[in-house]
Every structure is written in structure tokens, then in C-alpha cells.
Chain length 198, copies 2
């Protein structure tokens, strides 16, 4: 609208998740009119990050080095491996502070209809990693979706020949959840997986 | 979380309007994992735009040149001047296709409590522009907020000595508006400003 470069900026902002044409326009105007310094800093942070951040060669999470800090850490339990779908899940679990083992990122979930089989999410490589024998327990922390559940079940089958404890993160009523508003599938899981208190 | 540069990118994304910590994380992950090309393109578009786009020296809208395309245009009516608060408003009116005159961008509205007086929104310069005599009608298209109304009224007073037609964009029920859901101030304006049909 105002100039070629303005339109290019609006277009480029559209690649951000859940940013439509109106938001992109608003963002571009905000940056150009109110925060050129911020725009330049963002520009640099973007090219810096894109050039230097890539997959960890061991766990497939993100790192600037060959191997990520979590994989390198001496303080974390090597016998506990948490399998997740994406680096975002690693971040979520780390922020919960509930886990001190290592991770393995699949990079997705099984979805045969989309042509995503065990090879595509690196399950053979994971099975090989587990066969090395260092891991004693695998915590399956794929999403509680149909695909995530299927992926977890597939992993249990694919590692049946190994002497491994396999666990699945609990499903139930979330913190602050009011039973009245919890969906019936979750509630039936919560009743089924009830825990003894006394 | 994953690395210094990842955190810097999340931080830099926070300058975008209505992007909180969670969205910034999601954006950073999306860019790094799914669209590094897009991230680099966005980086370039940002620095390009920040370096080249600035205020038009006549109307104070945005341009890459000394004077913007609208001010330079021979096809637009020089006798009609539309006064708006921001370049975003120029964009909105242009997209409505309802106006073929020229613009003047105030860059804000009067707000005495915030120390924004006539000088700060360039009203003396606008009055001088109007005194040159080329403009026959000024359309006051400041926002329909208290401040926008006050700014419009101030402009009417400030140009009382000039031989100018001053108009204000209409206020009323918006397209698709159902009376039941329209606020009472808007409805009272709509009744007060009713138009004869026959």
C-alpha cells in the first residue's frame, strides 16, 4: 500500500503462525511507526537464529551445537528417557520442572493417511538407541490425541524384544478442572486410572 | 531454553503487538523448525523496511521517497483533504475505495492529560497548509472516540478564519449492524443524523 517494501514486510509477516492479513498490516505499521529499533533487532535475531539453530544429533531437539545441553548434561538421569513429539513438548516439560532425565524428539506422530510411518518419525533410530541398553525406563509423552496414543502404542510393540520399562504420562482431570466441564472421555479415563489414597 | 539465540529470538518477537510469551515461543519454534527460509526472508524484509520507509514530508503518511505516491498523484483531487490520525487510517480509507482526494496524517489525537497538544499533532502546520488556499473541503476522519471528536472540533475552531468547508465522516449504525446489539450512543447518533429517503 504505502510502498513496495511495506507490502513485502506485510507479506513476510504472514508466515508467522496465526497471523492473517489484518494482523500482518497492524504489525508492519507498529514496527515502522513505533519501533524501528525493535524491527532491526528482530531482523538480526531471526537471521542469527535461522543460521545457527538446528537439530541435536542425539535427541533431535534444538541446539546451536552438535549436541544439546540436555544430552550433554552430567546431572541428568541417563536411564530415564522421555519420548515427545516436538521440541515444543521438551520446552513444556522442562518448564514444568517435573523431569530430570533425557529426551528423544520424534518430530511428529504416526499418521498413515498422511504417509507418515515409523521411518518418518525416526522410530528405527530410537529403537536402536534403546537397544544400546543405557535406558531403563521410557516415558511415553506423546500427545493425548488419537495419533499420539497410536504412536505410543506402536513404540511399546516395537520395543517388546527389549528389557525396558515403558510408561505413559497420566491422563485425567487437569489442575483446576471442574468435573462438570470436563469431557466425558477424560472423565472416564480419570475414573479408570483412579489412585488409591488410603 | 534451547539456546541463547533461541531465547533472543523469542524476546525479539515480543515487540510485535499482541504477541505474549507463549505466542512468541510458538512463533520462534515454527520459524526454526518449519520455515527457516521464511525467517530469513522476514529478517531481510524487516531491515529493508526499517531502513527505507519513513514519513512523507507533505502528508506525514509513510513512503520510501521524499513525498508519497498519493501526494504526488495527478489523478487525485487536490481540493479535497482528508485528515486522519494515523497511516493505518489512510490504508483503511484507501481500501474502502471511497475517497479520491489527498490526505493529512496528524500522527495522533489531542490528549491534554498525556501532554499531547496541538503542536504535538502538527495542527499549526496543517492550518498553514490549509491557508495556502488549494484545499476547498476538509473531511475530518479522526476516530469516533472522545479524543478523535475533540481533535475534530479543535480543527474546526482553529480554521474558523479560513474560507473552508469542513465535514465530519458520518456516525451511525455500521453495515450489517442489528439495532438490538448496537450501543445506545451510536443509535442515538443514527437517529439524530437520520437521512431523508423521500
Amino acid at each position: 500500500m504505502f510502498s513496495e517494501r511495506f507490502d513485502q514486510l506485510v507479506q513476510a509477516l504472514r508466515i508467522l503462525p496465526s497471523v492473517g492479513p489484518k494482523s500482518a498490516q497492524r504489525m508492519a505499521l507498529h514496527l515502522i511507526m513505533k519501533n524501528k529499533q525493535g524491527a532491526l533487532a528482530l531482523s538480526e535475531a531471526l537471521s542469527d537464529a535461522a543460521d545457527h539453530i538446528h537439530e541435536c544429533s542425539i535427541c533431535h531437539s534444538l541446539t546451536e551445537n552438535e549436541v544439546c545441553d540436555i544430552c550433554l548434561s552430567q546431572d541428568r538421569d541417563d536411564t530415564l528417557l522421555c519420548v515427545v513429539e516436538s521440541p515444543a513438548d521438551v520446552m513444556a516439560i522442562e518448564q514444568s520442572g517435573s523431569f530430570r532425565g533425557k529426551y528423544h524428539v520424534l518430530g511428529g506422530h504416526l499418521s498413515p493417511l498422511d504417509g507418515i510411518g515409523p521411518e518418518e518419525v525416526g522410530i528405527p533410530a530410537l529403537v536402536q538407541r534403546l537397544a544400546e541398553g543405557q535406558v531403563a525406563e521410557v516415558i511415553l509423552a506423546t500427545n493425548a490425541t488419537v495419533e499420539g496414543q497410536a504412536t505410543a502404542h506402536y513404540l511399546v510393540e516395537a520395543t517388546r524384544h527389549l528389557n525396558l520399562k515403558m510408561t505413559r504420562i497420566a491422563q485425567g482431570v487437569p489442575q483446576g478442572g471442574e468435573l462438570e466441564y470436563v469431557d466425558s472421555h477424560t472423565l472416564s479415563q480419570a475414573v479408570h486410572n483412579r489412585m488409591q489414597m488410603k
